[in-house]
């Protein structure tokens, strides 16, 4: 195996608060290879954003206890000086968010902002940077890019702003693009445009992508590998086929059974009972145990580890593999 682009080892991010310690990320390990797309799914509050904000060095270390390693091209990002981290951010790792206005400044012209980003990292003339900015806007499919470059973000529609943010994030040709719910606020038609764009730019530049979303459809269509997060932990990882056709963890089953499908007509949905836990009071043992229909005594006392199922596929559950294989056949894949 080639050296991974990003390797996260036993990452923990805990926020001490008045009410107690929020264990937002609690022992997460994964790797991303150059050029591949990793999907990260899970419900709100499961620690998806905090994990990747930590990778980017965007978590305030004064308000959080951060442990573990974040190796990017072999260098531990948790222990590099601030200036060096800033150079890596933008230059080698780009990030896009649900709300483009977190990256775009409302008072500056879109083209100038992209040019600024380039100038901060590359020794070229202002004019060259301006031309590169226009070229990036063109590549992300913004019509009349030279005109658009001279406009302010508020003159752009939601989808166009998202494109401008992508143009900015990719202007330095990063090796890794972190996309945190980039299409959650958009209509499906615009979402399809944006995801299609990310796919195309990714193959053009061979950028690795971490796509964070709560939409199981989006990851199925766009990701090579998927990791499912629950209560600050990874509960299942695998290829898209593993997760959709051979899921081996009751939370993943719950997610798959609760979504209505366009491709079938189900009589009734099967919601997961109860609510996700507070990350201050994560249940003892398996964090999913209060909601799991298959819970047994061991689940209350021992935290299940992410154990290999087959190849890259791994899941964290105390049920025997044989039992899980049977349940998947009888209860999960039989939806209609």
């Amino acid at each position: 195996m080639p050296e991974p682009l990003l390797e996260v080892k036993d990452l923990r991010v805990h926020f001490p608060t008045e009410d107690g310690i929020v264990k937002a990320v609690d022992g997460v390990s994964f790797a991303i290879q150059p050029g591949e797309t990793l999907g990260v799914v899970g419900e709100s509050g499961s620690g998806k954003s905090v994990s990747f904000l930590t990778v980017m060095g965007l978590i305030n270390r004064k308000s959080a206890i951060v442990e573990g390693e974040v190796l990017f091209q072999g260098q531990d990002l948790l222990n590099v000086p601030k200036e060096e981290l800033q150079a890596i951010r933008g230059n080698k790792i780009g990030m896009i968010f649900q709300d483009p206005m977190t990256s775009l400044h409302p008072f500056y012209k879109v083209g100038d902002q992209i040019a600024e980003t380039i100038l901060a990292h590359e020794d070229i003339s202002k004019k060259e940077a301006g031309a590169r900015a226009v070229d990036m806007l063109k590549r992300v499919g913004i019509p009349r890019p030279d005109e658009r470059a001279r406009q302010y973000p508020h003159e752009f529609s939601g989808g166009m702003r998202q494109r401008a943010m992508i143009a900015m994030a990719l202007s330095l040709n990063p090796d890794l693009l972190i996309a945190d719910e980039p299409t959650t606020a958009l209509d499906v038609t615009v979402q399809a445009q944006i995801l299609d764009l990310i796919d195309r730019l990714q193959s053009e530049f061979n950028t690795a992508v971490a796509l964070i979303t709560h939409d199981l459809g989006v990851v199925a269509e766009h990701c090579d590998y998927i990791q499912v997060m629950y209560a600050g932990r990874l509960v299942e990882v695998g290829t898209a086929d593993d997760i959709y056709y051979r899921p081996m963890m009751p939370y993943t089953w719950g997610l798959l059974k609760s979504i209505p499908l366009l491709t079938a007509q189900e009589d009734r949905l099967h919601p997961i009972r109860g609510l996700p836990p507070s990350l201050i009071h994560v249940p003892e043992g398996c964090p999913f145990n209060p909601r799991c229909p298959y819970v047994f005594d061991r689940c209350h006392v021992e935290v299940p580890q992410l154990l290999p199922v087959d190849g890259f596929h791994a899941a964290a559950c105390h049920l025997s593999l044989d039992d899980r294989k049977r349940i998947v056949q009888e209860e999960v894949l039989q939806r209609t």
Binding site: S157, D187, A192, E221, G254, L261, L333
Partner: protein, 377 residues
């Protein structure tokens, strides 16, 4: 149900029952004015621009379309929260387009609304008991000393703990707050409930809980739903019939199975194609249509068919015919789509679409043989 079956079985005969809600040529325009003291009207947002629609008793009519196409405005018109700019609205056989005062208040007992953001629609300073009980007090349908009992019964019905009567909205999770909204809407035993994106803000596992609840309540109380959502999978799950809206107009209406098996309007097809399918192999089998550009402004909607500037169908036809403009550049539409407005025409039993060149393809693969998908049998 297999696909061939869907197409071969004759769909149920057109219902002979009277619709509970009927809209005819309904328009809702919002004037745009200039000037501070002497306001001049300089234009209008054509939010709803000529809608004919029927909703039958006991059914769920799904309404889908992109943001800004007029779904919420249409919902508010049906609720008579907006006055109609033009057209007629019937409820239960009665023309209610212009009812006012007491009559309007009486009408409102029969129709209630559930909103997307359960938090914004609940007064944070009122207890849950007083929020759910408000309609009783407003309409005086239940004597004061029985309100608490009735409210607790409603709470139980929607899956809330009746002992939480005195709690405040912020003490509940998003899903529970939506249950509060549903309980309040049920208080006066309405005939119609308009659900405007009721699950759009919820996580999937919670969304499923609320969808099941709405389904159970419909069965128990013979409710009629107008169910608005932008998620076509959710709409498919809940609806008996579905209407698709684009820029203030209904472009297609059909029985659920008929619509999803054979969308006729190119916009419906594009919308369906854009839905991410949570199954890697079926996703690959899906017909991909990527719409270009954004929705045009409802202030000055395009001529002819409003969808023509983005329509992949008319683009393909123009290309096939090698059409060019006066400068010799390839045309992106055929003239008919640009010049002539298409009206809703029959596309099969209970199926209408407004398109000069309706589609004849399947977009979404359904019930593909497990062998074929490679999924474990």
């Amino acid at each position: 149900m297999s696909t061939t079956e869907t197409l071969a079985t004759p769909p149920p005969a057109k219902p002979t029952v009277e619709p509970l809600v009927r809209l005819e040529g309904v328009k809702k325009h919002f004037p745009i004015t200039r000037g501070i003291i002497f306001q001049r009207k300089v234009g209008a947002v054509h939010a709803v621009d000529g809608v004919d629609l029927e909703i039958f008793p006991g059914e769920t009519l799904g309404l889908v379309g992109e943001t800004g196409c007029g779904k919420s405005t249409l919902a508010r018109v049906v609720m008579r929260l907006h006055n109609l700019t033009e057209g007629k609205l019937w409820f239960n056989g009665r023309d209610v387009s212009n009812v006012k005062g007491r009559e309007l208040r009486d009408l409102r007992r029969d129709m209630q609304m559930v909103f997307q953001d359960p938090y914004a629609s609940l007064n944070p300073r009122k207890t849950v008991g007083s929020i759910i009980g408000a309609p009783f007090r407003l309409h005086g349908t239940v004597p004061k000393n029985r309100v608490k009992g009735e409210v607790q019964e409603l709470m139980e019905l929607v899956g809330l703990n009746p002992e939480h009567y005195n709690r405040y909205p912020h003490e509940f999770s998003g899903g529970q707050r939506q249950r509060i909204g549903v309980a309040r809407s049920l208080a006066l035993r309405p005939k119609l409930i308009v659900c405007d994106e009721p699950v759009s803000a919820l996580d999937v596992s919670i969304q499923a809980q609320i969808l099941n609840l709405l389904e159970d309540l419909q069965n128990e109380f013979h409710l009629t739903y107008l169910f608005i959502a932008h998620d076509l999978s959710v709409v498919k799950h809940v609806s008996d019939r579905v209407s698709v809206m684009y820029l203030g107009k209904i472009v297609e209406t059909a029985e659920r199975d008929s619509l999803y098996a054979q969308p006729r309007h190119p916009y419906t097809g594009a919308l369906m194609s854009a839905v991410p399918v949570p199954d890697p192999k079926l996703a690959k089998a899906k017909r991909r249509i990527i719409l270009e550009g954004d929705v045009p402004s409802p202030i000055d909607p395009p001529s002819g068919c409003r969808f023509h500037p983005r329509c992949p169908r008319t683009q393909a036809l123009a290309k096939e015919q090698g059409l060019t403009d006066e400068h010799g550049a390839p045309l992106r539409f055929v003239p008919r789509c640009h010049d002539e407005e298409p009206f809703l025409t029959d596309q099969g039993p209970g199926h209408t679409a407004a398109c000069h060149f309706p589609l004849d393809v399947r977009i979404i693969p359904m019930d593909i043989d497990p062998e074929e998908t490679g999924a474990p049998p």
